[in-house]
């Protein structure tokens, strides 16, 4: 009798799925609930079954333009509308738009008398009428088991249920059926035996006084699906499931680098900062400036036009803004501009999963490029190390998948071995900065190390880390024969070194001056000596000249004498004169 002719059944090979529109749910089921088939939602009281069902219909009507029928066995139309009004679902409007029909099926057991055979054709007719009146493609039966408490004959109910599910399939209605969870069984009346296709279990567990809602796909015939328990939560926007366990390490790795917000730190990271999409761990003991590092990072992000999300689990937004202003970082400006958002929560306010969920949801809504989580260690207050690590793994996976650069701060206790105490997450991180208080000479100084930076040639040296009124400054720590010196010790050592340096400079200058003086001295002496030499030489030359002249005079006399004496023409006397400059010629043979 349906007027609503539907598409022909799909090939038997592929199971068609219908998106619910519930954030996260369609991911873990890889497409939603089975199309044209019933899905069973079971859970104990207050697990969120009715809400899931309602949202399935509301989202179907609003997002996918698929009208739906809500058969309520527990709550009247009015009650339902009121209950979900707080989630911004306007059922009355949907009803007016003919996108939704609510039929409240109610039987007061006390006014019923059973006399002979019957069936539930009345219910079928109501369903059929409701479905046909708006051409519904989705239907919710909430809580079907109410039939068992309102009608006495269980055998008839069971037979009729079987017929009901057959009818739903024939009508190709995508149905969501909610059921109360039984003691040790999925449903109190074993409804699951009728619904062979898809069974989903909702759970609300309290551990350490913190309740966490979880969802698990118990069964989903003919398709692969996530088998884990997925946390979900219900807030003012409805139901959110968190498929946070990523299904593989398939995220891409951007090569873009982004600044850490501290120039010297970028320098330590081969001058360009971190990779976009990487996860950065900043660990350190109390008061080492981890949050300030994070604030720098956020400031740099917002300044270059990125959007940043700050998850603070220790301080309120105002407190962070005030504190960061004292080191010259103005975060308020970015908050007002809308590029920075804070999410502040006490770690103990929710369970780990809900925190993760909140983070997940906030990120999905705000879509930031940069995320800071300050600090991750506070999660240990609500979960043990294993759980916390698992949660962070999922969070990091999620962030990487979305190419969000994330900075996590981690508080290490002063006594413990720094490198061993990081909630065991350091292996998940791409970069790890360690801020350490180094105590010596009665003072504490901060030292910053880059312990690791995957894919980045990074400095292996410690830098001294100083908080000034204009932010963090990194200074080369003194590394010398006396070890690493910081703070006043470094200053003293530097002063000492400077003094020594000065001394050496002075000494050198002095020596140079001396050398110059000596040069000048010797040069002057040289000039004087030369003058002396020249004068002496001149004198000697003059003397020689005179002597020669004298000798010539003598020779001339001798020749004159010889001529006068009529001597023969020998050169005997002449040689003698040449040899010695002698004054007298000697007799005898010399040659």
């Amino acid at each position: 009798m349906t007027t609503n002719s539907r598409r022909p059944r799909s090939k038997p090979t592929a199971l068609q799925k219908e998106r619910t529109g519930i954030p996260g749910f369609d991911e873990i089921t890889r497409g939603g609930v089975p199309k044209g088939r019933p899905t069973l939602i079971c859970g104990s009281a207050g697990a969120g079954k009715t809400l899931f069902a309602t949202e399935f219909l509301v989202r179907g009507a609003t997002q996918f333009n698929e009208p739906g029928v809500f058969i309520s066995f527990e709550e009247s139309d009015e009650e339902l509308a009121t209950n979900v009004a707080s989630l911004n679902f306007d059922l009355k409007e949907l009803i007016a738009e003919k996108k939704l029909v609510i039929d409240y099926v109610f039987i007061e057991r006390s006014e019923i008398e059973e006399t002979g055979e019957y069936d539930l054709e009345g219910l079928f007719l109501r369903l059929d009428h409701a479905v046909n009146s708006i051409g519904a493609q989705r239907i919710v039966l909430d809580t079907l088991e109410a039939l068992f408490s309102s009608l006495p004959n269980e055998a008839i109910i069971r037979a009729e249920l079987r017929r009901l599910f057959r009818w739903l399939k024939e009508k190709e209605l995508t149905a969501v059926i909610t059921c109360e969870r039984g003691n040790g069984t999925l449903t109190r009346y074993g409804i699951e035996e009728y619904v062979a296709d898809c069974v989903i279990l909702l759970d609300n567990r309290v551990e350490n006084q913190i309740s966490t809602r979880r969802m698990r796909i118990v069964k989903y015939r003919g398709t692969s699906h996530g088998t884990n328990e997925y946390p979900f939560f219900i807030d003012e926007k409805g139901f959110s499931v968190l498929p946070i366990t990523s299904l593989g390490l398939t995220h891409s790795a951007p090569t873009e680098r982004i600044s850490s917000g501290i120039e010297r730190l970028d320098t330590m990271l081969s001058g360009k900062g971190f990779y976009r999409g990487s996860s950065i761990l900043v660990s350190g003991t109390a008061g080492t400036g981890k949050s300030t590092l994070a604030a720098h990072f956020v400031e740099a992000a917002c300044s270059r036009g990125d959007r940043a999300q700050f998850f603070a689990f220790e301080e309120s937004q105002d407190q962070i803004i005030r504190n960061m202003r004292s080191v010259g970082i103005d975060l308020d400006k970015f908050v007002r501009k809308g590029s920075l958002k804070f999410h502040n929560a006490r770690p103990s306010a929710f369970g780990l999963e809900v925190h993760l969920a909140m983070i997940h949801k906030t990120i999905t809504e705000f879509n930031p490029n940069v995320v800071v989580i300050d600090p991750i260690t506070n999660f240990l207050a609500v979960g043990d190390a294993v759980e916390t690590k698992a949660m962070l793994t999922r969070l990091i996976d999620f962030l990487k998948l979305n190419q969000i650069t994330a900075m996590f701060t981690s508080l290490t206790s002063a006594q413990s071995e720094v490198e061993a105490s990081e909630v065991g997450v350091s292996s998940l991180m791409d970069a790890w900065l360690l801020v350490k208080n180094i105590e010596s000479n009665g003072e504490r100084n901060r030292g910053l190390y880059v312990l690791k930076a995957r894919g980045i040639a990074h400095s292996n040296q410690v830098r001294e880390f100083i908080l000034t009124d204009h932010g963090i400054e990194l200074i080369d720590a003194y590394i010398g024969s006396d070890g690493v010196l910081m703070g006043s010790a470094r200053a003293t050592q530097l002063a000492r070194e400077q003094a020594a340096e000065l001394d050496r400079q002075l000494a050198t200058a002095h020596k140079e001056r001396e050398l110059r003086r000596k040069q000048e001295l010797y040069e002057t002496q040289l000039v004087a000596l030369r003058g002396q030499y020249e004068s002496e030489r001149d004198a000697i030359l003059t003397e020689l000249d005179e002597e020669k002249k004298k000798l010539e005079g003598v020779a001339a006399q001798r020749r004159e004498m010889a001529r006068l004496r009529k001597a023969d023409n020998s050169d005997y006397g002449k040689v003698q004169i040449d040899e010695n400059g002698a004054k007298k010629a000697r007799k005898g043979t010399l040659r």
């Binding site: 039929d103 099926v105 109610f106 039987i107 006014e111 019923i112 008398e113 059973e114 006399t115 002979g116 055979e117 019957y118 069936d119 539930l120 054709e121 009345g122 219910l123 007719l125 109501r126 059929d128 009428h129 039939l147 309102s150 009608l151």
Partner: protein, 115 residues
Amino acid sequence: MTATPRKPSRRATNGRSPEVNDDESSRWNLRLYVAGQTPRSITAFKNLKDICEEYLKGQYHIEVIDLMENPTLARGDQILAIPTLVRKLPQPIRKIIGDLSNTERVLVGLDIQPR
């Protein structure tokens, strides 16, 4: 349509029937919901008729509603099971489901005391 000796025992009217001055036939307003002319609905109608004739002669009015034709009416009386007999009057509303083959239970359901 004689005055019946059977007393429609409403505990309130302990002082019994003679002061029934309004239309006798509307004292018992019964509505039978069926879905099409199925053997079961025919049986139910027959059983109802028999019981009424025996115990409520002249004081009853039966309305048969076929939900196949008027499915919207199912909502008003919260009908799930077919057939369902609704005692609209006298108040309070009572519902009897089934083909009314068990006369005793029908009488209990309608709150008619058998002789």
